[in-house]
Structure formats: structure tokens, C-alpha cells
């Protein structure tokens, strides 16, 4: 196994040159792959089936040879081979805890905890009291974050969700400095405090919040910062129950730095090939985790890698934000097309009642056909097509090849907006 003594500290890793870090990451990656192949039967099976040997994987680029494993695969594997589907690399009774997430899916507690966070040492939280409102029961959220906070030196109040009035009282009595949980629950607590006659900014000591776990937290974050002077730390932390913390925001609020405790790839979800920085793709994680080594775990979440240096001094690439789920998006000629974008491009044309985008692949080239049902047949179809074409290219950065006008009712009401019919 790897020599643990020579391993650089997370703080050092985050500030290395890209080249030095890559060397370090590849060393650890080779170690965990050999280990996982030996200890986790499901990893061996996946490698053998793909005809890949652990020693074939020398560089991060080589990882492309290994098929990904996704949440759905894990659920199916756990079902046929309970409880951990062949991914547990240690005896089950050596685990400290076992969690369950919706799926159902069992998650073992890792030695690395919920990940190394932003590389903050135990001095980071010194002297601060933080309220952790993630639930401590069943799923790994509450206890995972709890451990992370305690490791950073914080004093944690394990307050969980609910009991709003009591949460207000705790926040006031203990002069709580930080809040961890969903933005909407923080809003509920602030509203309750105001309803109880407090002036939140004056009567409370809440200086920062680490909020996430919900879509659309942006406007609340803005409100917390501007109206209540609560610093929303680094925007987000990106973590999943399966692989723990993947990326953490820094004080520059400039996206989330990827952890140095895992290999994080951005890939084309269809082919598993790695993409260049700036291109949008699926986040794939290989954590250096000796308990549950999920090699190439496909999160299903979309983002992109930003490689420019960050003002905080860390040199690790960043994920600007999570851009959606890969299941809904289709990559056409190198560009992801997401139903959110197509709705925006097409929805503004009142003449169109329904649409469906069909992607196929005749002669090794992606072809995109836009089928539309018209609300009114008596319109200038050519003009509509030209206007739509321009709009679509602007918003989706890719051009459709053809527009077919189809009879009313031929696109079912519950049809997918984008259909991928490609065969490779």
C-alpha cells in the first residue's frame, strides 16, 4: 500500500502545481485501484467484464477504460447481493455505522468521514458554535456533517430539523455563530424569530451559514447576506451520500474547489470519455476510500471544470455550480442540450403547441430533428423556421438539422422533450 507518512497535507495538496498534484493523485489512484480490485468483488467483476486489468490504469486518462457505476447500478447490485452489492472492501462488522438512503441504498461509514472538506485543519472552527440542522437519523447527512465540523474544531449543536421555536431559543441562548442546513429552514427560523419580536441582526450572533441541498437557494442566500449580514460560506458544498464531499466553496465564493481526496472527472455521460475544462459533462468520482471504493462513480450531476487560478490561493480546479441532471440532457455534437434550454428557446413561439427533439446518428454524425405540432396551421412556416433556428442556435449553441411539422396529437402529452435514438 501507499506510504502514508510521505503523503502531503490537504492544505499543501490544494496549493501544489497542477503537475505535482497530478503525480500525487495518480499515485494514490493506482493504489486504490489495485486495492479495490483485490478487496471488492464488484470492482473485480466490472474490470474483468470490460477486459481491463488494474495495472492498465496508470494515469487519470486511463480511467476512461473503466466503465462507470451509477446509482441505479448500485441499487440493483445491492438488491441482488445485499447489503453492499460487492463494493464493501472490509468486513461489514468492522464498520462504525451503516446508513440508509432513499433507493433504498445502504451507505457504510467511511474512515475518511464525509471527505476532507476544504482542507481546513482543526483550528478552522475554533471558538465557534454551529447548529447542524441536518437530521442525524437513518441517512448519512447529519452525522457526516457533524463529524466534519468536529474535525474542524467547531462546537456542534446537533439540533436536527423541526422545533422551530426551540431552534430560535438555542440560537439566542448559545450565541450560535454558524448554521448548517437547507436555506429554507434557515428562513423559517429567521421568520419565527422576527415573529417572536426579535431583531434578528441585533439580537442574534449568526455570522455565517453553510446552506445547500435544495434547488433555487440563490435568492435566499442573497437575502441572508444582504438583509441579515449572514455570510453564506462558499456558496455550496457538493457532496453525495455515496462518495461524500466532492467539492467545497472557499472564501472567494468563486465556485467549489474539488477535493484532493478523490479523482474527479467530467465526462460525456454516454461514452464515459473525459471532457476538456469548460465543457459541460457528468461528474464522475473515484474516492480514495478503502472502505467502499466506488471506482468511477457517475453522480448523474452535470458541471464543468474551471481551471483558472482562484484568488484564495488554492490551485485545485473548481466546479462553478451543479448544472442539472445528466439523465435529462443529451449531448449533441459535443454540446449538451437540456430540456430547460429547449423550453426557453421554443417556448416563446406561441404558434407551437408541442415539440419534441429527436437525436439520431445516421452515418456517424449526430442528427437533430425538431418535431412540432402547430397551434395554428395558417402561418408562415418558413418564417417560423428561420426565427426558431436562430433562437435555438443562440440558446443551445447547436443547430438542428431539420424541422418536421407533424399532425396534431402525434406527440403524446407525456412524451420526453428530447429523445436520444442514437446507436453506436
Amino acid at each position: 500500500m501507499e506510504n502514508k507518512q510521505s503523503r502531503p497535507l490537504p492544505q499543501e495538496l490544494e496549493r501544489m502545481s497542477a503537475k505535482d498534484r497530478q503525480k500525487h493523485l495518480e499515485d494514490r489512484m493506482r493504489g486504490i485501484i489495485v486495492y479495490a480490485y483485490e478487496k471488492a468483488p464488484a470492482v473485480k467483476e466490472r474490470f474483468d467484464k470490460a477486459g481491463v486489468k488494474p495495472e492498465d490504469i496508470r494515469t487519470i486518462k486511463d480511467l476512461e477504460k473503466v466503465p462507470m457505476v451509477r446509482k441505479d447500478d448500485l441499487i440493483a447490485l445491492q438488491k441482488s447481493n445485499p447489503p453492499f452489492g460487492g463494493y464493501l472492501a472490509v468486513p461489514m462488522d468492522s464498520l462504525e455505522r451503516i446508513y440508509q438512503s432513499p433507493g433504498p441504498i445502504y451507505d457504510p461509514q467511511r474512515k475518511r468521514g464525509f471527505g476532507a472538506g476544504g482542507g481546513q485543519g482543526p483550528g478552522f472552527g475554533k471558538g465557534q458554535i454551529v447548529m447542524n440542522t441536518w437530521s442525524y437519523h437513518v441517512t448519512p447527512a447529519g452525522l457526516g456533517v457533524d463529524q466534519l465540523l468536529i474535525n474542524m474544531g467547531f462546537t456542534v449543536v446537533p439540533s436536527g430539523t423541526g422545533n422551530t421555536e426551540l431552534q430560535v431559543q438555542i440560537m439566542k441562548d448559545l450565541k450560535v455563530n454558524g448554521f448548517v442546513g437547507t436555506p429554507s429552514f434557515l428562513k423559517i427560523i429567521i421568520d419565527k424569530a422576527e415573529e417572536m419580536g426579535y431583531n434578528f441582526k441585533k439580537d442574534f450572533n449568526l455570522k455565517w451559514a453553510m446552506v445547500g441541498g435544495e434547488m433555487g437557494g440563490e435568492s435566499l442566500r442573497k437575502l441572508f447576506q444582504e438583509k441579515y449580514g449572514i455570510l453564506c460560506m462558499g456558496g455550496d458544498t457538493y457532496a453525495t451520500a455515496d462518495v461524500g464531499t466532492v467539492a467545497t466553496g472557499c472564501e472567494k465564493q468563486n465556485g467549489m474547489h474539488i477535493t484532493a481526496d478523490a479523482i474527479v472527472e467530467i465526462v460525456d455521460p454516454a461514452t464515459g470519455k473525459q471532457l476538456e475544462p469548460g465543457e459541460v459533462g457528468e461528474i464522475v468520482v473515484t474516492p480514495f476510500d478503502e472502505v467502499y471504493p466506488l471506482i468511477r462513480f457517475g453522480t448523474g450531476d452535470l458541471s464543468t471544470l474551471v481551471d483558472e487560478p482562484c484568488g484564495c490561493g488554492r490551485t485545485t480546479p473548481r466546479l462553478p455550480k451543479i448544472m442539472g441532471r445528466s439523465g435529462e440532457a443529451v449531448r449533441v455534437r459535443g454540446m449538451f442540450v437540456h430540456p430547460k434550454q429547449t423550453d426557453e428557446a421554443i417556448g416563446r413561439f406561441q404558434e407551437i403547441k408541442k415539440y419534441q427533439l429527436v437525436v439520431s446518428r445516421p452515418q456517424d454524425r449526430d442528427e437533430m430533428v425538431l418535431k412540432v405540432e402547430l397551434a395554428d396551421q395558417a402561418i408562415d412556416k418558413e418564417k417560423l423556421k428561420n426565427n426558431l433556428d436562430k433562437n435555438f442556435r443562440d440558446l443551445c449553441k447547436v443547430k438542428f438539422d431539420r424541422m418536421d411539422f407533424v399532425a396534431a396529437g402525434s406527440i403524446p402529452n407525456d412524451a420526453k422533450k428530447i429523445v436520444d435514438e442514437r446507436k453506436y
Binding site: 462488522d93 455505522r97 462546537t155
Partner: protein, 425 residues
């Protein structure tokens, strides 16, 4: 310096005299330390005229009034944030818990505290290789996380389930081949009943070997059923949120042993003196714990003292099953409910003339009924009031009110306790 104790495997075989000598030495140091570091303890000792340097053992503290749960509530108000009771600054604690009051219980860090907790976890039969569902609550109160850590330090794999989600609990027990359960008796029975409803055979489909079910009085007949019908060994523990685990049942199953590392007294609440073996008294403890040195903490729990030697070989004193509470607080489904929690909640309902919470125990489950007498029946939306009362009072007591009964004038006597215990075991 700090508290240090020999191995508890050694202590549990000591003669009473040897044990007392050892504990007295530790207590002497602890009292001096608490006097220095915990301002409200200093005030309390000063008020009783006790000089720490003159304390050589527990008998020198006989005149120190007991520290009761109600005192704690006041102290936490008067000495924020930690009642002047904790010997380290709040930000040096790993966690702060919240018990009704509110009382802000510290997460303990003293070695002797964990020595005791690991010892109790082991003494009730948990060991490496066990996979245990912990259904004590992890949010806010110390119960869940404290037991979680005690189990993990014994090499046990813990599933932090908390209470609720009965069907999920059944699924987890089956799929993970869970070997042990820890929680309340009634919740354990809910899971068993649910499993049988789902068509499962407890003996064949589960791998359950041991259930530590406590927190409620009078589990006797149920525990017998669990052992005989389902082949699951049962055990019991005794704990309070303030000082953690205190006592455990050994394999001889004749009362609970007071754990090592605790200065233990049984005090008659009539005479204020130590009771004799076979008599009823209040459990009073001074755990050897330098983080949170509660000196002469009166638990409010009543039990019978047993001093005869136990067939298991341990020489530690034992207590019978709990017989009730001193004072008004009533332990219901494992949680203490206080009149002082009920009062502010009921003050929100001006239409109410009188009220009383009644705890009963039909079908082996603690049931909480709120009896309410209205000032007038006119213009009152009873359905809405019933819903509001249930929500507000359940929130305040942190335990669900099972029923709200509107009663006629006169049913609740004018002079009455706000919470009464009518349980029959």
C-alpha cells in the same frame, strides 16, 4: 491532575470498603476542581458552608442539598450558557445537547465518563461483531449520540435509526441481519408487531439476539414475551440526560448494578438520609467526571436499594426497577415532562379555565391525555382548539399528546397537580 480510575473489571470485584475508599479520593479531587472551575457549584458549596479542602469523602457532603432537575433549569437561566456547572468553556466542547428546560448538556470528554459508558455497553452484552439498531433520538438530546459512541467504542456497528419509520426499521433489521436493538420497550414492540403484519417470522427472518429496552417502567411481562416467544435476550439500562448511563442489568437479571465510577447514594426523601438495603429512596449520584461534575445530583427517580451480593460476582450495589418520580415531573415514554413546560404552552389558550395532563398505561404503553376545562362553551370551535392544543402542547413537551378531553367544570379539582401519573404496572 485529573480523575483516573483503575480498570472497571477490577473495580467491580472490590469490596464495598475498597471501592468507597477509591471513590472518596477521586471525589475529593473532583469537588476541589469543580469549586474552582464551576461558579454555580462554588456558590452552592459556599451556601452550604462546605470547604472543599475539608472534604475527605462523600459523608462530608451530607449537608449539601441535592442538585435537582428543577435546580438545573434555574441554573441554566442564571448562569448562561452552561449553568455555571461545566468546567470548560463552551467552545471547547465537541457538542452541546439540548434537553427540556432548556438544559444545555455538554458532550463529555473526560476519560472516566467514557470508561463508564464503554463498561456499561459491554456489561449488557454488546461486543465486536454486533450490528445494532439504535433507536434513541440523536437530534437535540444526548441519548442517541451518547449511546452511539458507547457502542462504537465497544466495536459495535451502529445503525443510527432514531424513532419512527417502523416499516423501514423492519426492512433494515432484516436486510442487514441486525443482531441487536436498543431503545424503548414500546417502540421495540411496534417494530415486532409491524414485522409480523408484514408476514415475517421473527425467529426465522431476523437475526436479533439481544434487545436492550428501557426508559419505561414495568417492562417485565413484555420482556418475558420477547425472550420466550421470539428467543431474543433482553436487558435494561438506566440513564439520565444529565449524567449519562448509570446502571445496567447483568445476566442474573435481579435489579440493575450501579456502574463503577459513580459515587452513589440512595436518599430517603422523607429523612434526607441514606436508606438501608430493601428500602425505597431517591437515586443520587456524583459521577466521577471532570467535564460536568454534578455533585450530589438527585435524579428524582425512586427505587429500592439492593445490597445483597449478586450471583454474577459483581460487588456493586443494585437498584430495583424504578418505582416512580420524586416531585411532579413524570417520565413518559422515556422523556421527562415538567409542569414548567406545560404552563407556558397552556398560557397561549386564554379560553381554558383549568387543565391537567394525565399519564396512564393501558396495553403496556404510556398514554398522555390532556384534560381541559373551558371558561365557556360559547363560540368555541372545538375541533380547531383540539388540533391547536395537541400541536402546541406536543411541541412544548416534546412528546405527542395522545388525546385531548374537554371536561365539565369540577372534574379537575381546584387544587391539583398539573401532571399526574396514574400508571399501574
Amino acid at each position: 491532575m485529573k480523575n483516573t480510575l483503575p480498570s472497571f473489571e477490577k473495580m467491580e470485584k472490590m469490596s464495598q470498603k475498597e471501592r468507597q475508599k477509591l471513590l472518596d479520593e477521586q471525589l475529593k479531587w473532583l469537588v476541589t476542581y469543580a469549586y474552582e472551575k464551576a461558579p454555580s457549584t462554588k456558590a452552592r458549596l459556599d451556601a452550604a458552608g462546605i470547604v472543599p479542602s475539608k472534604v475527605s469523602g462523600i459523608k462530608d457532603l451530607e449537608n449539601l442539598p441535592l442538585l435537582r432537575k428543577d435546580n438545573l433549569v434555574d441554573l441554566y437561566k442564571n448562569y448562561p450558557p452552561l449553568g455555571g456547572l461545566v468546567t470548560v468553556p463552551i467552545t471547547k466542547l465537541e457538542r452541546v445537547y439540548v434537553s427540556p428546560g432548556p438544559i444545555y448538556d455538554p458532550h463529555h470528554s473526560s476519560e472516566t465518563f467514557w470508561q463508564r459508558h464503554v463498561y456499561i455497553g459491554k456489561s449488557v452484552g454488546f461486543q465486536p461483531g454486533d450490528i445494532v439498531v439504535n433507536s434513541w433520538m440523536y437530534n437535540l438530546v444526548p441519548a442517541g449520540l451518547m449511546i452511539d459512541e458507547s457502542l462504537r467504542r465497544n466495536g459495535v456497528t451502529v445503525i443510527p435509526m432514531g424513532v419512527g419509520n417502523t416499516e423501514l426499521q423492519v426492512q433494515v433489521m432484516k436486510q442487514l441481519k441486525v443482531t441487536g436493538f436498543i431503545g424503548t420497550t414500546s417502540f421495540f414492540m411496534n417494530i415486532i408487531t409491524k414485522a409480523e403484519e408484514m408476514g415475517l417470522d421473527i425467529r426465522k427472518d431476523f437475526n436479533l439476539k439481544r434487545a436492550i429496552i428501557g426508559g419505561e417502567m414495568g417492562g417485565g411481562p413484555i420482556r418475558k414475551l420477547v425472550e420466550e416467544k421470539y428467543g431474543i435476550a433482553t436487558g435494561d439500562m438506566y440513564a439520565t440526560a444529565d449524567v449519562g448511563l448509570l446502571a445496567f442489568e447483568c445476566s442474573a437479571k435481579s435489579g440493575m448494578h450501579i456502574a463503577e465510577g459513580v459515587v452513589f447514594e440512595m436518599i430517603s426523601y422523607e429523612t434526607g438520609k441514606q436508606v438501608k438495603s430493601g428500602e425505597v429512596g431517591e437515586i443520587v449520584v456524583t459521577p466521577i467526571d471532570e467535564t460536568y461534575p454534578l455533585i450530589r445530583f438527585g435524579t428524582g427517580d425512586l427505587a429500592t436499594l439492593i445490597e445483597e451480593p449478586c450471583s454474577c460476582g459483581r460487588t456493586s450495589p443494585r437498584i430495583s426497577r424504578l418505582l416512580g418520580r420524586v416531585g411532579d415531573a413524570v417520565r413518559t415514554r422515556g422523556m421527562f415532562i415538567h409542569p414548567r413546560q406545560l404552563e407556558p404552552a397552556m398560557a397561549k389558550f386564554p379560553q381554558v379555565a383549568q387543565y391537567q395532563a394525565v399519564v396512564t398505561r393501558p396495553a403496556n404503553r404510556d398514554e398522555l391525555t390532556l384534560k381541559v376545562e373551558l371558561k365557556t362553551q360559547d363560540g368555541i370551535d372545538k375541533d380547531k382548539l383540539l388540533t391547536d392544543l395537541t400541536t402546541v402542547v406536543s411541541d412544548a413537551l416534546r412528546i405527542k399528546v395522545d388525546r385531548v378531553e374537554f371536561v365539565d367544570k369540577g372534574v379537575i379539582p381546584e387544587w391539583h397537580k398539573l401532571i399526574i401519573d396514574e400508571r399501574v404496572y
